[in-house]
Symmetry: C2
Subunit: 130 residues, 2 copies
């Protein structure tokens, strides 16, 4: 499999795991030193895999209202040992989409190749401020 396809599969699998509330798979390809800029604070980002892990249970709880978390578009730029990707996701409840149909989560992912394994070292999640 080429690097672009592998990274695409990694991100698609991660998004399915987020939607399923499968924390082990959400964390599986993430580096110990990950830096995530999340939708809520902290302003300086979520730093390290322990802090990253802790962000997910409250998100899974929110998701149980019936929210979706679906990748709509995904663009991967893969080099030999560093890569990044940007994506748009439908992330919200029916009530939120009724109010703002065009609402999208914007996601950027940074990766490096550790040995023969692509690893996520950075994520940036945001909604546009309207």
């Amino acid at each position: 499999m080429d690097d672009e396809s592998e990274i695409r599969g990694l991100i698609e699998g991660w998004a399915r795991a987020v939607h399923a509330g499968d924390l082990a798979t959400v964390l599986d390809r993430h580096a110990a030193d990950i830096v995530m800029f999340d939708v809520p604070p902290p302003q300086e980002g979520v730093r390290g895999i322990d802090a990253y892990r802790e962000t997910w249970p409250p998100f899974f709880e929110w998701q149980r209202q019936g929210a979706v978390f679906d990748i709509e578009s995904l663009d991967v730029t893969a080099g030999a040992d560093v890569a990044f990707a940007h994506a748009l996701l439908r992330c919200g409840t029916d009530a939120e989409f009724a109010q703002v149909p065009e609402r999208r989560l914007r996601l950027t992912v940074g990766l490096r190749k550790d040995g023969d394994r692509w690893t996520v070292t950075h994520e940036h999640h945001s909604f546009a401020l309207s």
Copy 2:
């Protein structure tokens, strides 16, 4: 100069040009097909250099109130031909910092090497939602 130093210089020069309102330098190292997830809408991102160019004059106008645009931290991951960086910036007016001292703009930049020239193909700008 190694790739990491070159990319660091590129992003620092871009941020100085943003603060100076120097549009030509802001655009100089950006790809025709850039995709920017900006703080305001559109939700699907600003696509292409013409749309990217149009976002700056309103920002420069806002900045003339006396806002700062200063890189506080910058972390670069550079491969042979693809790179990404994440940064925190102090971006706001005195009044905004008086209200929320920890306010930071979160910035992620994606780059590829075109020939011997690093080029920005993606930017993601956001504030944490509080």
